[in-house]
């Protein structure tokens, strides 16, 4: 891999940028690997990268049925934060946020991580008390978080409607200054390029159609490009996790829902931070291109179609315009949906399964993007050592039988 730098940019400028090396190879699949990762999104590629970097395991294939980052990695609203209530969540997401802070240098790829702050609004007394409680819990875990009163919110985001007569009056907000946004495609590309440079095979347009096993031991995967053997198979397929689990005869506590997002026409810089409101399911930021990026809540029904119902878009637009009257004449350019894998406790499942050599990393629901590096890091550890990293030990599948759920539904994971 040729390193990207100001010098390589200048050198390539001389040849009109015609001679850039491909960022990753497109190798022919080998008949056998040490580890097969199913799913070439951010989490799968990060897992591959950390397997090579931290554990020296490079005889690895990442199988992707479409193109890299074409699923939820390229469909989210790119928000990164670690302000979660429960200790288990705080540790996992903070681990991820710390990796984000050095990620561009680590990967030699600009993921455009911008720590512009994340505001969570309170619209009533209960919201405010809940935010106070959360901020206190988050600070006890050593994570930055603070409460802003309405004057401070107004000063930070003057275009926000803070009038007491508003349908959703703003009484205050919590702020995580280290939170922000990143360029989602770049995250997939950066991890792919860095993993490929360490010898990992990334195979696109290769769909897994079956998981072959001998009793309780995994043997490999059937794919549209033939059988590939591996003693370890790791599934990181988000909305399709139940489908993969069914191939192995497992059941997961997951339901797949559409989650929609949309962008406006580009405008001059007007919103320099991320504003989220869990109560009205609005989260909005402005991209470097000037588009407003807005995310909605999930559609109620289960679905594998990457689209949802217009009523959800109408709802989020109504709330957005109430909070930001200045946006009322903006045109929305595009909307789209991704399929999110929602767990009953809104926390992921990262770990081993009853089948030896089969690992699952799923259930991130509506909030997986922010966890991409941390998720890959602890999952790589789980696969390499065949035991969970201390950070993902609480996220085992058996928590649904023994009752130790990590209930982030009402706490922090409702909006992303």
């Amino acid at each position: 891999m040729k390193s990207y730098s100001i010098f390589s940019l200048l050198r390539n400028a001389l040849s009109y940028h015609q001679n850039w090396q491909a960022a990753w190879r497109s190798p022919e699949p080998k008949p056998a690997y040490d580890v097969i990762i199913v799913g070439g999104g951010g989490h799968g590629l990060a897992t591959a990268y950390y397997l090579a970097k931290e554990h020296g395991i490079t005889n690895v294939a990442v199988l992707e049925k479409g193109w890299l980052g074409g699923g939820n990695t390229g469909r989210n609203t790119t928000i990164v934060r670690s302000n979660y209530l429960w200790d288990e969540s705080a540790r996992l997401y903070e681990h991820s946020l710390k990796l984000w802070e050095g990620l561009s240098q680590d990967l030699n790829f600009n993921v455009m991580f911008s720590q512009r702050g994340v505001l969570n609004l309170a619209h009533n007394l209960h919201d405010l008390r809940e935010l106070q409680r959360r901020v206190s819990a988050i600070r006890l875990n050593g994570i930055d978080s603070e409460i802003l009163n309405v004057e401070q919110v107004k000063e930070m985001v003057p275009i926000l409607n803070c009038s007491p007569d508003s349908r959703y009056p703003v009484l205050g907000a919590s702020l995580q200054r280290r939170g922000g946004v990143a360029r989602h495609d770049a995250v997939a590309w950066g991890f792919a390029r860095a993993a490929d440079a360490r010898g990992i095979d990334i195979i696109q347009n290769c769909e897994v159609t079956g998981i072959r096993r001998d009793g309780d031991r995994v043997l490999g995967v059937e794919t549209t490009r033939g059988f590939m053997a591996a003693p370890k198979v790791a599934c990181v397929t988000a909305g399709h996790s139940s489908v993969l689990a069914a191939m192995a005869g497992l059941r997961l506590p997951i339901e797949s829902h559409p989650l929609q997002a949309l962008v406006s026409e580009p405008i001059k810089p007007i919103l320099h931070t991320v504003v989220m409101s869990a109560a009205v399911h609005v989260y909005v930021s402005q991209s470097d291109k000037g588009e407003l990026v807005l995310g909605a809540g999930i559609d109620a029904y289960t679905s594998y179609a990457q689209r949802g119902s217009l009523s959800v878009i109408e709802e989020i637009m109504a709330s957005t315009v109430t909070l930001f009257p200045i946006f009322s004449r903006l045109k929305m350019m595009r909307s789209w949906g991704g399929i999110v894998d929602v767990c009953p406790d809104a926390s992921p499942i990262i770990g081993k399964t009853p089948i030896r050599g089969l690992y699952f990393n799923c259930g991130w629901g509506t909030g997986g993007f922010k966890a991409t590096p941390g998720s890959g890091h602890v999952f790589a550890h789980t696969i390499a050592r065949d035991e969970p990293h201390p950070l993902n030990a609480p996220y085992a599948l058996d928590r649904f039988a023994n009752g130790s759920l990590i209930d982030e539904h009402g706490a922090a994971a409702v909006a992303h």
Binding site: S242, V243, L252, I254, E255, A300, T302, S309, A401
Partner: protein
């Protein structure tokens, strides 16, 4: 958007309905002897199929009746609708 044929009121817009998740999940008959794994299966584990799905809906802003729907989770096509307590009709694939 879905247009859902309520078996009591006829076709109505999706926004009138509330979703009730997978249908035909039977509560364990004898709670005292049910294992933790079986409770977990009943409470949390779901088929979540890619394709035909039998699920419950309630006409929340209409007659407030619960009923079952067989719907394709890829095309969103509603294949059939049947009342609570009725066996699922055989539907052509």
């Amino acid at each position: 958007m879905l247009r859902i044929p309520c078996p009591y009121c006829g076709p109505r817009d999706e926004t009138e309905f509330a979703y009730g998740g997978e249908a035909h999940i039977a509560r364990p008959q004898n709670p005292a002897t049910t294992t933790d794994a079986d409770w977990a299966d009943f409470l949390f584990m779901r088929k979540n199929p890619k394709g035909r799905h039998r699920e419950r809906w309630m006409h929340a802003r209409g007659c407030r009746q619960w009923f079952n729907v067989e719907r394709d989770t890829v095309t969103h096509q509603i294949v059939t609708v049947y009342r609570m307590g009725e066996p699922p009709p055989e539907t052509p694939r």
